[in-house]
Subunit: 105 residues, 2 copies
DNA sequence: TTGACCCATCAAAAAAACTCGATACAATCC
DNA sequence: GGATTGTATCGAGTTTTTTTGATGGGTCAA
């Protein structure tokens, strides 16, 4: 049984956070570095409450962190969570098909 | 601009398919090898139409393939799609923080 | 203090996802 | 043939997610 070695709830949470195009867009924009909500409103053109909502989903999944400075909230990507997500996806990857010739001997 | 290098729609489709615990459970079970719907009904205990529905979502995302044999439909994981998913997640991973000391010199 | 600004949160509406039972269909068995 | 089995699909109902506009809190500048 390999199934037990899979962290099902965590995979679902992380993937759920990345299941919406708007949120993936946000992540893509944050690859350029820290941004405040108003920057993101310009980049994507989305309403403020909509962005706040999606940022909250990303934050609750642990994929982004926020920092307040005066009136602004700055968001950044949480690198560790993306590393984790990659590892969890890898845990779902079946080993190479046995129908392929082995390349030994 | 790094954002343009990210395949936003594909990430959303793949993650959406893995955003539901039932579907991740199915994938986890398929790690043990090909199974028919009735096998999965036993493993998870879920109704038949529910499983068909989730299998369809997984199939449309390209994560599983099916094969008909007589009355049975056998499902398997599509390794390539999981490799792709891992790469796409990696494309969202920010480079290591600049605040860490570089380990050169 | 007043007013402008950035943002989080709320309530309501709209849209999408999910579940369940029923039906349909093809393959097998008698 | 008729009955049974394994599965896909449909429709209705429910639940969850997403969007939108409104409200309010905190910050800053005049």
């Amino acid at each position: 049984m390999i199934a037990e070695r899979v962290n099902v709830p965590r995979i679902a949470i992380l993937c759920n956070a990345l299941a919406d195009e708007a949120r993936v867009e946000i992540v893509a924009r944050l690859l350029d570095g820290e941004k405040c909500v108003c920057d993101l409103m310009d980049d994507l053109d989305a309403g403020q409450s909509r962005l706040s909502y999606h940022l909250k989903v990303l934050k609750e999944a642990g994929l982004v962190a926020d920092r307040r400075e005066g009136r602004w909230s700055y968001y950044t990507l949480e690198r560790a969570a993306f590393v984790e997500a990659g590892e969890l996806i890898t845990s779902l990857r079946p080993r190479a098909s046995r129908t392929l010739k082995t390349n030994c001997c």
